[in-house]
Amino acid sequence: MKMLINVAETVVADALRGMAAAHPELTVDVERRVIVRRGAPYEGKVGLVSGGGSGHEPLHGGFVGRGMLDAACPGEVFTSPVPDQMVRAAAAVDSGAGVLFVVKNYTGDVLNFDMAAELAEDEGVQVAKVLVNDDVAVVDSLYTAGRRGTGATLFVEKLAGAAADAGAPLDRVAAVARRVNESSRSFGVALSAVTTPAKGTPTFDLPAGELELGIGIHGEPGRERRAMMTSGEIADVVVDAVVEDLRPDGPVIVLVNGMGATPLLELYGFNAEVHRALTERKVPVARTLVGNYVTSLDMAGCSVTICQVDEELLGLWDAPVSTPALRWGC
């Protein structure tokens, strides 16, 4: 598999140099792997810090800016960052109002952010954490590490970011973040496997006529393999999965997310089917976002995340945001 890289070892550092070059509104510490919103800490504002393995771009670095994250900590490809990064990020963005860690529910992320929270608190930063675990493909029971954090991360970062931007205190921002997570569900489908720079070959074999249902964002196989389906059939399966789990009784925001290599033309076509499927299931759609936002390197495929919203959450969604990858209202 060909890649537009120098060598596998420097992929993350190279990308950070490139982010620094493209985004003067961000302070990128390439060596220590922390991306901070220029001007942070903002007086009186709760700081939002997230991070995770690289390979999901624009998540998280592309969401640093007004109305979303104050800092992001990119790990190696598909490898959670180390505590040092989050400790440094917390110190850089804490104005005294405290810091919220947005953590996707993976063993590695949880452990590293937990360690970082302890260390940051030792240094006098008040830290709250929210765990994002929206992926209904994972049967949440004693027998798994629990539901993965996927597309809902964007919703949590956006809505909690808007709350922080509006001046809400730490407990309030954390409460919004948790409510968003509880109101969100995701399900993903892969049409191709992922090739990581380190491995150089696809992580699994996916024959021509088949797809994987219930995949995550790390190139892991899903829960089930099926014969290839049409976009309409896939939308039915995916929408069923999220709607039956969330059982929304009000309007939702929908994220129709590309895994990285699926053309936008196809994603928009898929969005039409997702809307059709939601309408058939009597779920009103308040807002829609279509694009590659929570990706899995060069994987072809898509995921759908829905988040049920009330007036407050919808207002937070519509609030101004100005980051490399998500921008409106300012």
């Binding site: 063993t107 493909a137 590490a145 380190a198 892991e220 196989p221």
Partner: protein, 224 residues
């Protein structure tokens, strides 16, 4: 391996540094295999994670070599935590940090203290990760190694013998993860589909214990 004398009277900082060298070499050599094991049931990074961490740890130890075996282990553990990330970083970091702390300030320790250290480390892993035996994790190599070491020690074996039996137990434990269904870590997402694949973390744990035996002059577990 014949040129590395058994640790005679005890285990010192030099012994632990020899272990670190051997472990780093083994992980470097086996990195692709570990990543390969992490592909069907994981995210294809375990080998590069472990190699990156141990190379950093060896560099850290070389730059400012601690004078006690515990000191070396604590430094290795801390470096892993600061350089690996993922699930294995905090878990292996905790394993070695807890083990090192258990050894305290002693300049030389016997095999029995090594057992105590391993027990403390393994306990730390179990507590941090919440996994139990049979969950298809690194613990499925570490727990049998601890048991075997304890048993061999009780039976009065030499340090080399004791560590050799720990190494074989770890290796058998790693191999025995194949038929298991994962309940922790990202392999657990796969449910039934995790069955039939050897756990990468258990495999790297066997390499680490193997390097311990090798450092003691027993035949190397580096080929786990």
């Amino acid at each position: 391996m014949n040129d590395t004398p058994a640790p005679g009277s005890g285990i010192d900082a030099t012994f632990v540094r020899r272990w670190l060298d051997l472990a780093t070499t083994a992980l470097d050599r086996e990195a692709d295999r570990l990543t390969e094991l992490d592909s069907p049931i994981g995210d294809a990074d375990h080998g590069s994670n472990m190699r990156r961490g141990f190379i950093a740890a060896r560099t850290a130890v070389e730059q400012e070599p601690p004078e006690t075996p515990g000191g070396v282990l604590v430094l290795v553990g801390r470096t892993l935590i600061s350089t690996v990330g993922g699930a294995s970083g905090p878990l292996y970091g905790t394993l070695l940090r807890k083990a090192g702390k258990e050894l305290g300030e002693a300049e030389t320790v016997g095999a029995d203290r090594l057992r105590d250290a391993l027990r403390a480390g393994v306990g730390g892993v179990a507590q941090l990760g919440g996994a139990a035996a049979g969950d298809k994790t690194m613990l499925d190599a570490l727990l049998p190694a601890l048991d075997a070491l304890t048993g061999a020690l009780d039976a009065g074996g030499s340090a080399a013998e004791v560590l050799a039996s720990a190494a074989s137990a770890a290796e058998e434990g790693a191999e025995a993860t194949t038929p298991l269904r994962a309940r922790k870590g990202r392999a657990s997402y796969l449910g039934e589909r995790s069955i039939g694949h050897q756990d990468p973390g258990a495999t790297s744990a066997a390499l680490l214990i193997g390097a311990l035996a090798e450092a003691a002059g027993a035949t190397g577990g580096g080929a786990a």
